[in-house]
Symmetry: none
DNA sequence: CTTTATGCAAATATTTTGCAGGCGC
DNA sequence: GCGCCTGCAAAATATTTGCATAAAG
């Protein structure tokens, strides 16, 4: 039902190309670490915390430090390929830019977990509403803030953000 | 772009009322500091950093500490009257988020006009989606960006932002 | 070779907490 | 009075930076 929001290989290549172009333009260098970090970031395509990115990057090359992840993400942000996003508590999350079509988020105000959802009924209805006012819709942002099962203290409820020790803090749905 | 409208005194009163109701409900207390902070926050109505809020609050009463501002803003966030927002560097910003039923906006990217709408079908559907993941919804933000009739050049179309005199640039609709 | 990058750890910046009084109810 | 609040400062987090060494162009 939900299309794959992760970027295809072709997308990743294109993004990496843009990144390298930016580096060159600025007289900066392309390094093994930067490539690993950027590629990991692009290919997971979603919401990513520094921590999880570091984890994934280290899986490919243990010689990757915290600071480098920060610095690389800053570069990506500067050239518009990534965007900082901080919904609630905890860590700053980064998302690939240009991903603006499916910004429907369910956000736990307690633990900061972000769940992406896509619901056709809502999409259709918002189109209908807009049209009724003579608007067309170019993009939208839809964020639901609430508490996840565990945060609500529901017996047996799980809070994915806490359960996943090393996840990317994100889950897909529908 | 459109300015963030400051809240009228009536709005502030209403928001303060909601805040006090929340405090009471939770068995918490209304204090001089909390009132100053909340009222300052509500009446400026826009994006606010902890720092500036502290500054303004201290102007009214020097007996206000950093921690209290954090704690109060956390309370306001919990009861849905404020929302954390962090776009770029530096400090976390907070914005008023009261009035949670009216966070549905249709925004003209051309002229900046903001139309508020409310649609039961969407509300119901988002509730349903959230519940399906075990979440409850405390508040939400739904923004549709597009072009208003006049911006689209539709014959006879009107762009309320231009037609209207100089209100707060907002209109309600159902 | 020259310049920029990296890792580490120390320095900063931000936010949360513990605690000894103070104040609302 | 009882229990929640507050301020202060210390603690816990998060992010940035300095520096010697390694790597890219």
């Amino acid at each position: 039902m939900m299309e794959e929001p992760e970027h295809s290989e072709a997308d990743v290549d294109s993004l990496m190309g843009q990144f390298h172009a930016y580096l060159t333009k600025m007289g900066l260098k392309s390094t093994r670490q930067r490539d690993i970090i950027a590629e990991t970031f692009f290919s997971t395509g979603g919401h990513m915390s520094i921590e999880s990115l570091l984890g994934l990057a280290r899986a490919q090359n243990p010689r990757v430090g915290y600071a480098t992840v920060y610095r690389t993400l800053k570069l990506l942000t500067e050239c518009g390929l990534a965007a900082e996003r901080r919904f609630g508590e905890g860590h700053t999350m980064y998302e690939t830019a240009g991903d603006s079509e499916h910004h429907d988020h369910l956000i736990c105000v307690e633990c900061g977990f972000v769940l992406e959802f896509h619901n056709e009924a809502i999409e259709r209805e918002q189109e209908r509403v807009a049209r009724s006012f003579g608007f067309n819709v170019i993009r939208h942002k839809h964020e639901l803030y609430g508490m996840c099962p565990r945060a609500r203290g529901i017996k047996g409820g799980s809070c994915p953000a806490r359960d996943a020790g090393r996840g990317n803090g994100r889950e897909k749905a529908e």
